[in-house]
Symmetry: C2
Subunit: 375 residues, 2 copies
């Protein structure tokens, strides 16, 4: 079985491009990971997700442990087989979503107890249990169990939380054990405090991981503060391992993160927006429910090769959105995921060509005008 490995093929400033190799296939970086919360990327067939160019999906431990349960997925042959996706899967640890979704949480040194948002049943997540669940799911890239405070927060609270997460990172590493072909990523915490981020990075490097996430961002701090943190945080992590920015983000967040040395990202934004009618194009964001699209025979983006753009007018997409037809979610999600994957491919090409600064100028310039003029 192939080992997990990461090869940088080019850098341009702080931006990097490369390839992560896993037994289930290669992941071209910078990589955007669509989110398949409950064993499906909402409104998409998995073969369609692959057709957009996605090399890897993200699955949510919190959702899957509650329904249908990790043990059931294991009995059914693992998450890949269950959801018909044979490329790599990264799973989060469950920690973040316990904090954002579950009811009645109790945090101790051991872990977190909480009530399911689905049926109120009581559950426990610890570093050891999170590693077990992610093993049962058959995850290719496993995330350490951590705690992530919402920002803004007091420095003392951030420091305590980070230090707890580092103790949990060590317990995660010990519980993960030796699993050839599977990777374990550590998660840097420390809020917006450079010295705490450094302390966290050193603690993780001391334990040793196959990749390193920048955690605790995109939690309300805003783009400027996030970018200020990314001006130093990635460089605190090993250069020869993948760097993953969790839960990011809007297209310009992603471009700014890649410019600062990030290799992997995930976000529900393209798929969720597809269901609410928000559409991403080279020219920025448009909302398909607006009346200006009602008679517009043009595609969302004439340069896009997705089925929504190849086969349908804005007028049709407006009609099916207004009529609350399922095909609206199907087509707009496909388009948004295609836009995100095309964005990543463009960045990989520009970094490899050493033209990433020019590419960034063009990216921002194309968005300045906004959507094409009404007909």
């Amino acid at each position: 079985m192939a080992r997990f490995s990461f090869d940088l093929t080019a850098t341009d400033g702080s931006a990097r491009t490369g390839v992560i190799t896993t037994p289930r296939g290669q992941i071209r970086t910078p990589a955007f990971m669509p989110v398949g919360t409950a064993a499906t990327v909402k409104a998409m067939m998995p073969e369609s997700v692959a057709a957009t160019g996605a090399d890897i999906l993200l699955g949510n431990t919190y959702h899957l442990m509650l329904r249908p349960t990790a043990e059931r997925i294991d009995r059914l042959g693992g998450l890949h087989r269950f959801m018909n996706w044979d490329k790599p899967i990264l799973t989060d640890s469950g920690g973040f979503q316990v904090m954002s979704l579950a009811g009645l949480r109790k945090l101790t040194e051991k872990g977190v107890t909480f009530k399911s948002h689905i049926d109120g049943s009581k559950h426990e997540l610890t570093p050891e249990r999170s590693m077990e669940i992610q093993r049962l799911l058959g995850s290719d890239i496993v995330m350490c169990f951590d705690e992530c405070p919402a920002l803004p927060a007091e420095r003392d609270r951030i420091a305590e939380s980070m230090q707890l997460s580092m103790r949990w990172a060590k317990r995660s590493r010990d519980a993960f054990g030796d699993r050839p072909g599977h990777a374990l990523f550590g998660i840097q915490q420390g809020g917006l405090e450079e010295d705490l981020r450094a302390e966290s990075a050193d603690a993780l490097i001391d334990i040793g991981f196959d990749g390193y996430a920048v955690g605790g961002l995109a939690v309300g701090e805003g783009q400027e503060a996030m970018f200020a943190c990314l001006d130093y945080a990635p460089a605190q992590l090993p250069e020869d391992k993948p760097r993953y920015l969790m839960g990011v983000g809007k297209p310009d967040d992603i471009v700014g993160a890649v410019a600062r040395g990030i290799d992997m990202m995930d976000c529900v934004l393209p798929s969720r927006s597809g269901r609410t009618g928000q559409v991403f194009t080279r020219h920025g964001v448009l909302n398909i429910k607006n009346a200006r699209h009602m008679d517009d025979p043009r595609p969302l983006d004439e340069a896009c090769a997705c089925p929504a753009c190849r086969n349908y007018s804005r007028a049709y997409l407006h009609h099916v959105f207004r009529s609350q037809e399922i095909i609206s979610s199907m087509l707009l999600t496909w388009h948004n995921l295609q836009y995100y994957q095309d964005l990543m491919a463009d960045m990989r090409g520009a970094i490899a060509a050493g033209t990433f600064a020019d590419w960034q100028r063009d990216f921002h310039s194309a968005r300045e005008h906004g959507d094409i003029d009404p007909i």
Copy 2:
């Protein structure tokens, strides 16, 4: 441009198989037409509908005239282009759905005025307006505007309604005019009264149509009464033209109708059931939400080639249905439409081979046992 034509290639008892030729392609009969109410077969990409083997779709005049309007679809190049379906489309006349969906209807000799169920706006449908709408949509097979009383009803009411529909059929024929490559179908009425059905058939034949529908069934009379009517009604219509049974039905309804000389059918049942978790297989009906499927690694039907059966376990389909994931509607609708198209293909083969009676016995026998046993 190819003319509209119908060629019978084989008969077996009263059952018939053949081919309808249109400029947009051939329709193998007996044919089942999936319903694309609002310019989409719900939860399906049109290329997936075609992949199930569907040669023709049905579109609803009532829904499309209200939203996005026939004039708008015409400006955008017609319904085929609007919804990305280049094979034939049959449109109903709007009459049936005005009666079942619209509010505050008023029926006169001229036509029907009604209020939209979407926004309460006032509209009028007449034979002339229905022909105009169906022309604007670009329909390949246009249906006469008729009135269809719910059953049971008084004989006098049925006779009056049928005679009104026959006057409207003449006005529909006159308004349709001469449109090479496009077909106009008359609709037989007369409830469950054999003599009224004969009177209606004669009136339609006297006007002259490219095909003939048996209307006014599947409106609450039950299968036994419907079959009793189909024992004589199709034979009252021309042998050399397609016979279309509107709004039917369950798989055993369809088999019984084909056995009685019907060539075309449409029904929302396979697509609607896909969204409510009801699944059709050779063994009858199953409900995917039942707990018995929760740990079942087997496909819905091991003999089915649709993506739901090829790529997913019952356990997965149960999980995504319970989680209210859109992929549940996508996969179950695809399966149900595949089941219906496979059923039609099987019947065409059996009729051509002269073994339709045997095939019917096998069909009913396979359904007797019900779903496969739980594991």
